[in-house]
Subunit: 315 residues, 6 copies
């Protein structure tokens, strides 16, 4: 493989914020206010590090050393949590909030699955290096001589554990190790050049990430399954418009939660939106209207996705 990989090989697509669709999706992400806020602030500081200095001068004059600690953190955030907990959704939409907040354009580059390559020696390393090359080029254009950046780039690595697996695992292949090193070098390139770019990694196996990668994370945001309130929000916002009553919504919220002695986990966000809601609709389609009692019955027949077995609880 001597030819440079093309853009479409490297990235699944290219998104630009602000835009209406991600704004709407971000708004629908309930119960993740803390993660939203932390992520938006970290990304905002990459674009506009001067903001923190302004704040310190206002509130804490003379705290420069403390600020340096924060501004020196590598531009990497890990989003860790169960399948269907909303981490990918947040990663794909947070750019909109930052773009609006900082009043700039932000570009999202989601690393393509094919960047994992096909197992040829050196291939993953080359693909990753090319992806970071592209990210650096884009971000460099947006970096001002001084002051606030004209825009920012977010490199999104979903299902990151496959890419940056822990070197603790004895079976780790040299090819994978080389990929981890390429990844670390990429992060360091962005950090050293102080570019307006960030890397977001999503994983449901936090403990499988290489420690050298985790150590470089400025923050690790954790995502859990939706609680009662979040389930109610998702279900009622979809089902009330088609006429389900409070009583049935209540029953659905209860049914989709954990059940003591049966299972200690409830439905994931995905279980609710990708499995339960379609099943309720398709059961009625094409001949009947959706019926509340029948909807609850369907919810009872669905077993939620079991949690991914991972040895570690993220912070």
């Amino acid at each position: 493989m001597n030819t440079k990989p093309t853009l479409s090989e490297l990235f699944e697509r290219r998104l630009t914020y602000p835009d209406f669709e991600p704004q709407a999706r971000l708004a629908r992400l309930v119960g993740l206010d803390d993660q939203k806020s932390r992520l938006a602030k970290i990304l905002g500081l990459l674009v506009n590090p001067g903001g923190l200095t302004d704040w310190a001068q206002r509130h804490h004059p003379g705290a420069q050393a403390l600020l340096d600690t924060i501004l020196r953190r590598p531009p990497l955030v890990v989003l860790a949590g169960d399948v269907g907990s909303g981490k990918t959704e947040l990663a794909e939409t947070i750019g909109d909030a930052v773009a609006r907040q900082e009043k700039i354009d932000i570009t999202l580059l989601p690393l393509s699955l094919s960047t994992r390559g096909q197992g040829r020696v050196g291939e993953m390393t080359q693909l990753l290096s090319a992806a970071f090359d592209y990210t650096v080029i884009e971000a460099t254009k947006l970096k001002p001589a001084s002051g606030k950046a004209r825009g920012a780039v977010i490199l999104l690595v979903d299902e990151a554990d496959a890419l940056a697996q822990s070197r603790e695992a004895a079976q780790m292949h040299h090819e994978d190790r080389a990929g981890v090193n390429a990844f670390i070098r990429g992060i360091d390139r962005i950090a050293n050049a102080k570019l307006p770019a960030a890397v977001l990694m999503c994983t449901n196996r936090l403990s499988a990430l290489d420690p050298a990668v985790r150590r470089r994370a400025a923050d690790v945001l954790s995502f859990a399954r939706p609680g009662e309130e979040q389930r109610r929000y998702v279900l009622s916002s979809s089902l009330e418009p088609i006429g389900l009553g409070r009583h049935h919504i209540d029953a659905l919220v209860a049914t989709t939660g954990p059940h003591r002695g049966v299972r200690d986990y409830g439905f994931t966000f995905s279980d609710l939106t990708q499995r339960l809601l379609p099943a309720i609709v398709l059961d009625a389609y094409p001949s009947r209207a959706v019926d509340g009692a029948r909807a609850v019955e369907i919810a009872r027949s669905i077993i939620p996705t079991p949690p991914f077995r991972d040895g570690e609880k993220p912070a």
Copy 2:
């Protein structure tokens, strides 16, 4: 391997619906009404997404967001269950029901076993990509400028776990991982082009499927061993015509079920049709007629296929 694989290398055969033979086979599939109905609806909506909108306008005007969730699901359905539980039979015949229901022609392309290749690096990826290429070409011809498709294509992947094995397994080979990625890209190509095509995967090892593949499934249909009623249907429809009486049929139905304290599972559909019925006939052949008491005796001597050991119960 520089030459493109031929059609006969990629697919075991090519079936077109409607046709009498699959219609008859589908009719013989007893006790799977729920799976039939769900699968037919999902496939029908791929051909004719307008159907759902019509239904919503009739029953639930203003539920467009909910409908979008359903119509945006990837065109992949997983059929999971024990060996001999009828999942492959349903996958091979459901096209007939959809063809009749939507009044169009449907083509079934069963992925050949040889698509797993012979272990050469890059081979499985190339074969899978070629299979999806072909599927996309066929489906593109059937896609209308607007409205209902002129036909549809179903790509069938039987014994899918061998192809799309979980990346959780540490031993997973790069070649296999590349195959999984090629598969995911194929699904995404069909979805993005909104083609009238669907992928059906049959597996008896749901937990062995790659999570990234499972997550893309619009639905996971589960198949169990036949219950008492289903066993009775299969046995009586074959054995009453050759003269077995109610008493012996009853005994056969009981014998082929689970036996408390001995085994907690009964005969599979395959055990009934591929093992028990031939054994009854061959025992009599060539010198005697089939005898009911002897048939029961033969059933008692057959040990049903043990369930495949898999760590997970599908929903």
Copy 3:
């Protein structure tokens, strides 16, 4: 390896039935009447499928659907059982019974051990394909335009588990997987062409066979260690001619059986004929005649071959 493998590389030898030697050996196989009968019938129907129709018209007119089920079964029979239980002996001699019963010539092609190859990539696949090519060519010559075949071919795969190992085993090598696929394709070629040919697989590790191979088996015949009556037959037919009395034969039969609390298995057929009988003779040779009491003593000193550890009891 570009050259086609030669016949002598593919098959250990080539046997033709009817012949006196296999007739005698088949007659000596005691206690396997059920297996003999089932195997002869299945093979007979491959040669002469019309026989079953004739039988049905005589006894069960109108049972064509049931007959189709039987005639559509793939031409593969698995013989499963412990080392020394007679399965290979039956596989090597049953052809004689079928040849006499159907009054045709039958050819046995025992797959050579070397067909497993030497581990070169693609080698096992190529060797297996060549073996099936040869089988198909031979059987095609014997297939009539209509009616009963002029002869039949039996492809024998002894120690089949080494060739068609279960894909469940995570360690399975790509080379082996390719061999399994080549094997399945071979079976399907014979079935699709409705040739007068069958494949017999012998294995002492039923559970190690690939499920996709097992599922294609028309029947799985199981073989156990000889019971008391069978041991008596083997021992008395060899030792009475040289003068051992009833009393000592009784003692030998008891000694070679299971012993409660000591071991739950007795001698295999091979333990009796390959180990015990030679030991009795060689002990006397060259200076003394065989003595009954001493023969019993020798039997007591031999520990029977322990059963092969396999997780599954064949039906």
Copy 4:
């Protein structure tokens, strides 16, 4: 790979002491006085072995044999301890103390991550050999004909376990073993030439180091998590300047320590500086000033990095 690797491939960067920045960082390393002192003395003797002789003549005339034992120790020191315990920080800054103490210039060469190579056979060996070549060349220039060296070189190997993994591990790859041997030869080259150079290895998996490497270590310095006093120093030096009072600092010190029955470990240095302090600041930013009570609340919500599982407690 026939071309010699370049300097920038081998080393992450090149630092020279004395310098202000490492001096400040070294001063901030609280609670590591013993490790500082031992490391500075060992490095000092490599530059100026005559110092020990002078000391012995002053205090212990006639103890030359004992001195020889010390001066003959290989120029390798292992810094072992938990993630975030300050070992890398000490390794990167101790050169400043030695440079000032001995009044010479000291160069630090941190081995680049890429020196682990990309898995090509022989690659790691070649890269390591090149790194030692460079170290030897630099140190040779600094070696005087007699007496005290004109300067010194420190080769720093961070995350050393990945490079010099124990040969006890059965799975160890030949490539890795070759790397270990190259490493040992490098140490021996420096020792045999009595050059003013030392190798510092940092690891959080002491037991994973190859025994042949450990045996060559002149000293193994161990690093633990910060105790109460060290946590107080870190927290108060950052938070007092922005106005937090004694009461809140006390609460933070307690919160970040071990909690009996909950966890037997407290925050690492990194947990304090890279996670807690930024979280406190970003929580307030951009709209509020940092608040003590809220800071304690944030500290409670952070779970400290779990200790690396390693079978051995370093001395």
Copy 5:
């Protein structure tokens, strides 16, 4: 590797019987009378199969079928037992007894360790095939047109488990499997040509032998550690000539046996002759004569070789 391996690569040396040295060594092998007798008879019949017919005509006229069973057994004998139990010694010397008994010359070819090759693909297969080629050529020269052979060849495979490891072991390498097949083909070539040649395999891991190899063994001779009588023979024949008295010999015999509650095994033959006797002599050398009490003391300080862990007790 295109060149044929040379004789000295294939065999460690070439021995011819009868000869004085092996005669003396065979005579020194105490307590192995049964194994000696069985092995000599089996080898004798390979040279002179007519002997068995003569015997039968004398004692059991009409037992030809039984004799055929014996004469058809493959020319392979397995010698199985613990390290130091005398199996290799017997294999290297039994040829002398057979040569004298049958009044012919016998050649022993001990397979060289290097025949295991260096791991190149196809190498072990080629080396084994060459070794069997040579054996077949030599034996063919000795085969008469009819009647008794003019001589015989024994191919000795010591430490056979390394060569013919069980295919049950999942980890078995293709290269090894190919070696097993080459070995089986070699045995079959000798058997089919009815040559005056035999293969002796020595192993201390009977269960590690490939079942397909074991099944071909005409006999499996088992070897145990020396009992009290055998230890006394070995010790007294060496130590009485240098003056040790009955009392000390008794003590040595007891000391070198099993000790209840301490260890359930005594000294091996090798422990006695290779370790204990030299230790007694060297302790006295060069200044003192051997002393009985000191000899017992030395025996007490030696821990016998622990038995090889193997899951199976040979018959």
Copy 6:
């Protein structure tokens, strides 16, 4: 790799005895008198086998058979024991004792670590063969036509387990197996040519040595950690000259031993000389004299090297 490896690639260095430095080091090895004596005698007999005959004629005329057993033992001695127990030190210095005792010159060739090669196929085999070639050439020059040798060669293999690992380990690589075979052939070459050469292997993992290698060892000498007396010797000989009193030496001896309930092992020789003594000196350097009470305090803070985990206790 077609070029022959050079001497400096094969051996770390080349030592000749007698010499003052090894004489002094050997004298310092306390508590190993038994090992010294046994090793010197075995090596002495290789140089001068006539010595044993002279002794026997003097003390035990007519014991030639017993002497042959001893003189036929292969020229291999294994030195087995814990890290830091003095086995390598003895192996590197015993040549001096033998040289003085036999009044000849002895050459020590320590096999270089690099002889393990870099993992290229065939490399270790070639390097080992070259090392034995060189040893044989040197020793051949020293072999007299008759009588006592003019000198001797000792080939030292330290950390031998890495080279001659047990073939019992299923994971053993072909490359390693080939290395073991090359090693065995080397030993046999020296033995067959009756050269004045010996091979010494040091290992801390006796059970990891290939059984075929161990079986060839004339003797296995075991080494333990220093006892109280040995620790006292080491400590007082270093610390009394610099003024430590009896009281403090006593305390140091006790501190460095095992502590019931805490650990069942004390300091190794290396722990004493390479860690404790330097720590005591460096603690005082450069400003104070060594102080006894402080020395004891330092000893308490050092955790002795834990014993290497190995499944077997050498005899």
